[in-house]
Symmetry: C5
Subunit: 95 residues, 5 copies
């Protein structure tokens, strides 16, 4: 999974019908120092993430393994909201 | 999903028979500032996208999860046309 | 899908038995200006592509969605030969 | 698979219910010289890896091929702990 | 598929049980000029490749399409040993 911050959302009224009712969020990738990593993804939200939350998202076919996304044409799903993580002996608390 | 702009189309008369009737579009990746991101994809259009539309496309096996693309050898499908999005507090309207 | 030019082929007599009878081509990625993009792929040919043809290939599990490649350990298949394409208002004819 | 070092872990209480009981580890990619390769992944641990272990992880749908991860929305799984490896005639012992 | 040279192997006694009996090789990516391409993969060997062989490997779910790797958590499999290839009019013989 990759870690990123929710920095916005996408409105798309013309879309594959199977996507009705999904929320499309803009996720900015983050380095372990919490800096923007230069790339972003548009991901379906499966866990009620909000603006500025740090989240994990799964890509590829794994993005279709939630109730909400099963058999849908989506290749990225937010499947967890990060409370904290540690890396290299440093703990980062996010909530 | 990735966001990009439809900048053209591809004509291919010799192709896998399962692709008959699909429209192949050239999608230029975009940064969140709407600048070309240096890479492009050729994607099947599942939503009636037109030239210069900003779209979302799904890649990998997820590209086969629309009626049009099921069981076809395609790894990218346009599954939404973006009306607007916001990122970092700025709203971008596209239609 | 990605667009590339067929620049060669690979001979491999020791291989997974399921690959017998497949043709392995070397595909040079292309920019939209038809310049080499710095990377290449080895792809199974499903459409009778020839040397110097510009082709589309599909990657990942989608590469197994042709008659020829079904259930085979291949992650890239040439599924179309490009006749022409247009991008940014310019048309490129290839045949 | 890619090789990396376990450098931390992630705590996420709000997540897809299917992820309950999984351990999410931060894996720093490594070059063959055991230097950080500039990218990281968050992977589910399927083999009891500990902090500073060098591990292999599988990505994509293959990440769902362990007992622990089957049908879960995860795209990276640690499936082996590296004891040693050799590359270019040099052996690196890790345990 | 990508082309690379077998430059070593990995020993991992603690691993997902389904991986027992598989051989894990270190594959250095190659440019078409046979130079190291800066990245490597750890791949399961399905064809009896040896040290310094130039091989093709398939990634993703396609890596599970050999007898040896079916339903295993592996995302890269060596499925062919390259005898020779030609690219841009030059032939490279490897055996």
């Amino acid at each position: 999974m990759r870690m990123g911050r929710v920095i916005g959302s996408v409105v798309a009224t013309r879309k594959d019908p199977s996507l009705d009712g999904t929320k499309l969020l803009v996720v900015q990738h983050l380095t372990l120092d919490m800096k923007p990593a230069g790339d972003y993804a548009i991901a379906v939200d499966a866990v009620g993430a909000g603006l500025s939350d740090v989240v994990l998202y799964a890509a590829g076919s794994s993005a279709r393994q939630t109730e909400l996304t099963r058999d849908r044409p989506v290749d990225a799903v937010i499947m967890a909201i990060v409370d904290s993580f540690d890396a290299n002996g440093k703990t980062v608390r996010l909530t």
